[in-house]
């Protein structure tokens, strides 16, 4: 098993050379050769028009999947209220469950949660609810053990959760305990019509390459999905479903770690993730004080303030404003990028916005490739003009 | 050009360059604008062991010599001469201890200098004594248990920032130059204070201050060497440090040359980059020849010193004079190549020209050094083996 190059089929065209992220391919005597270090990512196989590169599949045992049924969505809560991502995943989960002809269950841990009926209205067939005071602060250990128990009992074939800081923290632990596969930060979930497997698509190399991944034999197939990737559907109040209360057994489910305190960092009026309009600044803003200009524009538009990574790194704004690969993913109606060059890592966090406006004095900035409207100019001149027009009209 | 560096020297050069490009480059304009001492970078240099290179291993150093010091200074100076001289001055301040210090003195002070925990400085110059060093007036009067120092030193690099000062003062006024001695004075010693910080044309990141001694008592174990050795210490020290100034000038000139070539390639006038003009090509060629020549001379002198040579006064002076004159010419020509934008403070080149001037003046003005070289020529009738 591994990677094989069929030298008979190889014509030495060299197309695959630039596709290898590690630069391991070279043409010697008109045939391609592979140096050490291959991670079987498959980029070269994709690039070859002559099927000369073959990445052998592992001889897999038949899927143990048959005894596992059902699509599960883990719904994350904060202070008793479910996060929006829960509903986004619920909508997609409903579609997946319908394709498979199976049921959709939502798993909910927390305290004081009263949205179970709403979850059903949004598409859940069953809601497993574990409600206890100890669960109100999202302690990884409790959530991990709780979810593992439920999965082992009810055996779903698919489990999806939000790729939030909680999700990315405890879901991998669940996967490790169950010795199953987990794909993080998916941007696409489909059911393969032939095999019924979940096709999980996600970005790698900061979004330069997309990969589709399957979990062939292990169950459940697990994925995390970033907020705002899927759209929240519309509720149907007539839908019927079951709410099953699960007991929280303090003795069995314990936490080794302890939450001592929580420090709120959000000071802005409009939360970034929920904002319809975001005014965002990058390195081009120049210094901390200059963000006030963007704040003014945001104020006039009722928008939230965002940032790419450099201003956060330099301390001009706090991390809670950061949009991008290591920040938040946002999908507002309008994203205004001021002085942002448009590096791939930033685009990963905002390129699905409905409309993107870019203001940058460099006409070659990559941000213009994704912008709906672009203004090539000095943001310190343009932004005040926008503010003036918005105020005067 | 290949200078056949060994493994450690190559590592040092590339690490110094990395520090220069990652840590100094982003802040050099601001340091110059605000005349701010680069403490952050001194800390980076300390963490990277760069202060250890001129201290022997017995005192927690890495045992390098003049050549290693030149390599480091050149790389730092290529990005900012002000930062480079702040580092080099600490080496200068430690030389009296290295050459003439007692075991106790070395154990007490050198490890801190090696770790970069404390910076050093050397204090000779006074208002009445610049090129005429023997005209110093600061006195050190022998008293019970030590010496009382009175006087003022002027234009001391690292003044106010360093904690360890090697100071030249007269212990016996009657004997003139033979009556001077070298002392080690720590910051915060009662009677030792600082005058104003000078506002300079260039190397503005470097701190230059007056040192004021008013009945400053230093313990007798703080004398470096013996009474009367003050100028021997001084001359030896300056000979040894001149290649370092040469390296500072070489680095500065190199930085200016690179910037000029880069600009000449991009600047389009009359439909072509200006580097295609013969007049510019000639300027750049001469700049490049001279930078390389000054580098080769400086390195050769450094290696001579490290090989244990006894007399290198003439050679050390040559390296300093040549490299500093070249740096002034190269940086001036570089500004010329930049044209109008070269005059604007938004671009780094005018700073380099401002930084270059001092290299022709301090550590022995080039006029004095030429006269030293001429003296040597007369002595041996310019004969060489």
């Amino acid at each position: 098993m591994g990677i094989q190059i069929d030298l008979d089929k190889c014509v030495g065209c060299g197309e695959c050379l630039s596709s290898c992220p590690f630069g391991l391919l070279e043409i010697i005597a008109e045939k391609v050769h592979l140096r050490e270090g291959c991670t079987l990512c498959g980029a070269c196989q994709e690039a070859c028009d002559y099927q000369a590169i073959l990445i052998e599949a592992v001889a897999e045992a038949p899927a143990a999947g048959d005894s596992y049924r059902g699509v599960w969505v883990f719904a994350e809560q904060r202070n008793g209220r479910l996060k929006s991502v829960a509903y986004e995943l619920l909508s997609r989960g409903r579609q997946l469950a319908d394709t498979l002809g199976t049921e959709l269950c939502v798993i909910c841990f927390g305290h004081g949660i009263n949205e179970a009926q709403q979850l059903i209205a949004y598409g859940a067939d069953k809601v497993y609810l574990m409600d206890a005071p100890a669960l109100s602060s999202n302690q990884d250990d409790l959530y991990t053990k709780g979810l593992v128990e439920l999965i082992e009992k009810y055996k779903p074939e698919i489990v999806i959760a939000g790729a939030t800081s909680l999700g990315r923290s405890f879901i991998p632990r669940v996967a490790a305990i169950l010795k199953t596969g987990l794909t993080a930060d998916c941007t696409g979930l489909e059911i393969d019509p032939e095999t019924g497997l979940l096709l999980q698509t996600r970005p790698t190399f900061g979004g330069n390459i997309m990969a589709t991944i399957i979990c062939q034999t292990k169950r459940p197939q697990m994925s995390t999905v970033r907020p705002r990737v899927f759209k929240k559907g519309t509720p149907d109040g007539r839908r019927k479903g079951q709410v099953i209360r699960v007991d929280f057994n303090k003795q069995r489910i314990t936490s080794r770690t302890k939450l001592l305190s929580f420090i709120d960092d959000i000071t802005e009026a409009v939360k970034l993730e929920d904002a319809n309009i975001i005014v965002s600044g990058g390195r081009g803003v120049g210094k901390a004080e200059n963000f006030q200009l963007l704040e003014e524009l945001a104020g006039v538009m009722g928008a939230a303030l965002g940032s790419s990574r450099p201003p956060v790194d330099d301390g001009w704004v706090s991390y809670s404003h950061q949009v991008g690969q290591t920040g938040k993913t946002v999908c507002p109606k309008l994203y205004i990028a001021c002085g942002i060059s448009g590096a791939v890592q930033h685009l990963a966090g905002m390129q699905t916005s409905e409309a993107i406006v870019a203001i940058n004095d460099d006409p070659n900035a990559p941000i213009f490739d994704v912008a709906t409207y672009g203004i090539v100019g000095d943001l310190f001149k343009v932004v005040p003009m926008l503010i003036k027009k918005l105020k005067n009209d | 050009m290949e200078y056949f560096l060994n493994e450690q020297q190559k590592t040092l050069k590339s690490l110094a360059r990395r520090i220069a490009e990652e840590r100094i480059l982003p802040v050099r304009a601001e340091l110059d604008e605000r005349e701010e001492f680069p403490w952050g970078i001194m800390k980076d240099l300390a963490e990277a062991d760069i202060f250890r290179i001129f201290i022997p291993e017995e005192y927690e150093g890495l045992g390098g010599g003049c050549f290693e010091l030149c390599l480091a200074v050149e790389e730092l100076s290529r990005v900012c001469s002000g930062v480079a001289v702040s580092y080099a001055a600490s080496a200068l301040g430690s030389f009296p201890l290295l050459e003439y210090g007692t075991e106790e003195q070395k154990q007490k002070y050198l490890p801190d200098i090696a770790s970069g925990k404390r910076l050093a400085a050397f204090a000779l110059t006074e208002p009445t004594a610049g090129s005429d060093a023997s005209a110093i007036k600061t006195t050190a009067e022998r008293v019970k248990g030590g010496y009382v120092i009175n006087g003022t030193k002027q234009f001391i690099t690292n003044g106010g920032e360093a904690e360890i000062y090697t100071v030249i003062a007269l212990t016996d006024k009657a004997r003139g130059a033979r009556g001077a001695s070298a002392f080690l004075v720590e910051k915060d010693t009662p009677g030792f204070s600082f005058g104003k910080k000078e506002k300079k044309m260039g190397i503005r990141a470097s701190s230059t201050r007056e040192l004021v001694f008013r009945n400053c008592l230093v313990p007798e174990e703080n004398i470096i060497g013996k009474e009367g050795m003050g100028f021997i210490v001084t001359l030896k020290l300056l000979d040894r440090s001149r290649p370092g100034i040469g390296a500072q000038a070489v680095g500065l000139a190199q930085g200016a040359l690179e910037a000029a070539v880069d600009y000449a390639r991009k600047r389009i006038q009359f439909g072509h980059p200006i580097i295609s003009l013969p007049v510019v090509q000639n300027m750049l060629a001469d700049m490049a020849i001279n930078v390389e020549a000054s580098r080769a001379l400086t390195y050769a002198v450094a290696r001579t010193i490290d090989s244990g040579a006894k007399n290198f006064t003439e050679e050390a002076a040559m390296a300093k004079v040549f490299a500093s004159d070249i740096a002034m010419k190269v940086t001036t020509d570089a500004v010329q190549i930049f044209g109008g934008v070269g005059y604007m403070r938004d671009y780094p080149i005018e700073k380099m020209m401002r930084d270059a001037k001092i290299t022709q003046i301090y550590e022995g003005s080039n006029e004095v050094l030429r006269s030293t070289i001429a003296f040597e020529l007369r002595k041996r009738k310019a004969r060489r083996e």
């Binding site: 098993m1 591994g2 197309e15 630039s18 992220p21 590690f22 050490e36 270090g37 291959c38 079987l40 690039a47 592992v58 991990t144 939030t164 991998p172 996967a175 490790a176 199953t180 987990l182 794909t183 993080a184 930060d185 970005p203 190399f205 900061g206 330069n208 991944i213 399957i214 979990c215 770690t257 939450l259 420090i263 960092d265 939360k271 538009m301 790194d313 991390y319 690969q325 109606k333 309008l334 791939v344 409905e354 409309a355 709906t372 409207y373 672009g374 100019g377 000095d378 001149k381 343009v382 003009m385 | 590592t11 690490l15 520090i19 963490e47 990277a48 062991d49 250890r52 290179i53 890495l62």
Partner: protein
């Protein structure tokens, strides 16, 4: 212990529009940037509390460079896990392999990982490793406040703020870049790195079951790789700046993206 990965340095990654392939400038391998923060934190803990920093990486033979690099910035020793059997591993198989190596080393108090790699971006190895070792895990640590008496108190980042968490040792943590500024190498560190002996542990040395590592030990598999299509119908506005600004607002209003006047 610090777990790190060597990843391709991607200073400029562009897509060649004609061939739709990756155009790579400078395919130099680097230590995964997030892991440098992990290493720096390990060194700081050692400076504050004592101890030893061991760096571990699973990768092809060239990953040894990455391990030498972290010795020059403060790691006391390094171990490379390398074997053709480890190739093609997903995070589950990677965590299993790392766990076997860590268990072989027996004594450990704190295991630090970077929050994610720049190639895989999953951030899964840290938590999965914790489970395989059977020890607690805290993600996104932005500050280590105190280590005392078998416990560690940390500050960690969540979307809307910070939590202060206490965890018993041994524990696994992943760190974010807000936690520190990684230091440059020192001359002594570079000398040590040059002469360091870095043992290479194969599957056999780890006593690893071949079905638990590499492609065989992976639960997930990549079946397809493609370059994202960027379909773009954007408009760069023209004219004088003020006209552009006014025109922009008008267009946004017309498209009902912002509320009209």
């Amino acid at each position: 212990m610090v777990c790190l990965k060597q990843v391709p340095g991607t200073p400029k990654v562009n897509i060649d529009p004609q061939t739709n392939t990756l155009v790579r400038q400078g395919i130099k391998n680097i230590v995964n940037p997030f892991d440098t923060y992990a290493l720096e934190e390990g060194v700081r803990i050692k400076e504050r509390y004592g101890g030893k920093v061991t760096a571990i990486s699973m990768g092809p033979p060239q990953a040894e460079e990455a391990l030498r690099e972290v010795i020059s910035t403060g790691a006391d020793e390094a171990i490379l896990l390398s074997d053709s059997a480890f190739a093609g591993a997903d995070t589950l198989a990677t965590s299993h392999t790392l766990a076997r190596a860590i268990n072989k080393l027996k004594q450990y108090d704190i295991i630090i990982c970077g929050r994610q790699t720049t190639d895989g971006d999953t951030g899964q190895v840290g938590p999965e490793l914790a489970e395989m070792l059977g020890i607690p895990f805290v993600a996104y640590v932005s500050k280590i406040e105190e280590i005392d008496n078998g416990y560690m108190r940390v500050k960690r980042m969540v979307e809307d703020g910070h939590e202060v968490i206490e965890t018993p040792l041994p524990t696994v943590i992943t760190v974010v870049k807000e936690i520190n500024v990684p230091r440059l190498p020192s001359l002594r560190g570079l000398a040590r790195a040059r002469s360091a002996v870095i043992p290479i542990w194969t599957a056999q040395e780890l006593g690893a079951d071949k079905n638990m590592v590499g492609l065989s030990g992976s639960a997930t598999r990549v079946i397809r790789v493609f370059f994202p299509q960027r379909v773009h119908h954007g408009e760069i506005l023209q004219g004088d700046l003020e006209g552009q600004a006014n025109s922009l607002i008008d267009k946004l209003r017309e498209a009902k993206i912002i509320s009209g006047s």
